[in-house]
Symmetry: C2
Subunit: 329 residues, 2 copies
């Protein structure tokens, strides 16, 4: 085993509490004592045992981060930013993948509860009620969902959807299909609400297809249904689905964007790489990760329910074009 606080104390000729202070409250130790202790500690390769520390302080300096699916390119930038931000503040991040399963999600929160100082729930699939219950067990911050109680970090999907509709109507589209996401996804509901409102106010015909898993495969599978509606444009729950829709559409012989335009949401890395490049509502993934960590760590006034909404931005690429037969005026 490695050396303990006692070894350092003995070697430095001080009491263990002095060693403890040298590390966790340096200002309470005289400069020379501290230097000596630190030097001895260094020499012995001593590092405070986090478990012992956690046991007594109640703080682990770990953060939990739950995502629905690590393989969804939406999450890595968020995780990366959160982990980086946490690290700057002396925290590590325990990442867990819930596989889109609300039950697993809840189990994981409980399992992590005593092991972390707080948990970031990203796009949770569990019920609001469950979130309320779990909030008693461990500080929570929710990303991508509106819940009463815990601090919430949102992305302005409604504005993004409106921008998408403005873009599409400017291109002459009058019939749009919305390919929704999974049941239990707050974002999917939000997108649907915004799309419905935007369609109505623009006098656009909106067909809603869903729920669908948030995957490329689901998007591809939805393409046939999209074509049947005769719509000239599609808004998808996210880029993965949008990419799948394009794939299915092209497969079915429908040119994108010639016959039909496709808009995604998220702006994940692949959206820049595919061709045609995907027009999409870019969401601030990294900013959300950082904000969530901030909220979790800096929550001075607990009672104050923070609700942070970050802006989104429409990125126009090549998957959208004027509606067929309606050249841009």
């Amino acid at each position: 085993m490695s050396s303990t606080i006692r070894d350092v104390a003995a070697a430095a000729g001080v009491h263990i509490s002095t060693v403890s202070r040298a590390f966790s409250a340096p200002h309470l130790v005289s400069r020379e004592t501290r230097d000596r202790v630190l030097e001895v500690a260094e020499r012995l390769g001593y590092r405070p045992n986090p478990a012992a520390r956690a046991l007594i302080t109640g703080r682990t300096h770990n953060l939990g981060l739950l995502v629905a699916d690590l393989a969804n390119p939406f999450f890595p930038p968020l995780i990366k930013a959160a982990a980086g931000c946490a690290r700057e503040r002396g925290y590590h991040v325990v990442v867990a993948d819930t596989d889109e399963d609300p039950v697993v999600e809840e189990e994981l929160v409980l399992a992590l509860a005593r092991q972390v100082d707080g948990i970031l729930l990203c796009s949770p699939r569990m019920t609001n009620e469950a979130i309320g219950r779990l909030r008693e067990e461990v500080p929570l911050v929710v990303v991508n969902r509106v819940v009463a109680g815990p601090p919430v970090v949102l992305m302005d999907l409604a504005a993004g959807v409106r921008a998408a509709f403005e873009h599409l109507t400017a291109l002459g589209h009058r019939a749009v299909v919305l390919v929704t996401g999974p049941r239990g996804s707050w974002a999917s509901g939000e997108i649907r609400r915004a799309a419905t409102a935007a369609a109505r106010s623009a006098g656009v015909d909106l067909t809603v297809l869903g729920p669908n898993p948030p995957t490329q495969e689901a998007g591809a599978a939805a393409a046939a249904g999209v074509l049947r509606t005769g719509a000239t444009a599609v808004l998808a729950y996210n880029d993965l689905v949008a990419i799948g829709v394009i794939e299915g559409l092209v497969e079915a012989g429908a040119d994108v964007p010639g016959r039909i335009s496709v808009v995604g949401i998220d702006d994940i890395a692949p959206s820049r790489m595919i061709s045609p490049g995907l027009t999409t509502v870019a969401t601030p993934k990294a900013a959300a990760g950082r904000a969530a960590v901030d909220l979790l760590l800096e929550r001075g006034g607990d009672g104050v329910t923070a609700r942070l909404t970050l802006g989104t931005e429409l990125v126009v690429r090549e998957s959208t074009a004027p509606a067929p037969g309606r050249p841009l005026t």
Copy 2:
């Protein structure tokens, strides 16, 4: 605060050691006592404090997982598989991103050492010497690199590179450019060795361009140099670079695969989505993640240096075609 072992003991009318046994050594407790204890614990919402447990047992039931860049699509499938596998065995995974920085990497290992039962070093950038040193501090398993000492999980890049060259020579290519990866990457060296050998034995002209950061941008930037060589095919360090190379090539007006063929390594998700679809050497990312966890957890005989090499497979898509002027015979 939540209830402790003492609350449960009191409520169940037994000694705390009995409660402890009911959880961690059920066979040492009579069936009825155990049932009663468990029921009371359930009712009180008691869950053993992992820090207290770790302090005394020395096992945290946490695993560390270090990757060079979380945003590189190569890693998420590996992390997902590793986390899933770990979870099945009652372990959680602490994920950290080293930003391709050997110094950060080392710091992180040290910081996590006492906090986890072992660390997965994925594509580490630090020196072998550093790995040897850190191995004294915490059990290590290394993925994607040959090191003496710790168990190692490899992917058979050499076989993959050979397959790629066979594919290219069969298509009539006689001049190939290798766009290498970053300095310090074992994979990059391995690929280079294999490519050199394969080129020699096939009588193919090989130009090596590098080192390069493992990014799309670097690939795009390398395209000009690639064209200058007059080669008709490119093998890239990984798919990200390959996708960048295609982008740069197309940008420069060189048709892919008409004028020049491109082969990547990894088979990340975007490679299936782009067009032309990327021909690439698929690496077993999920399998590697699972194998690494297995090695870390099941290492009965420590002394035995395990070295596991997982197979790779060439996936032929649309980014490769017969060399110009040399139709396939």
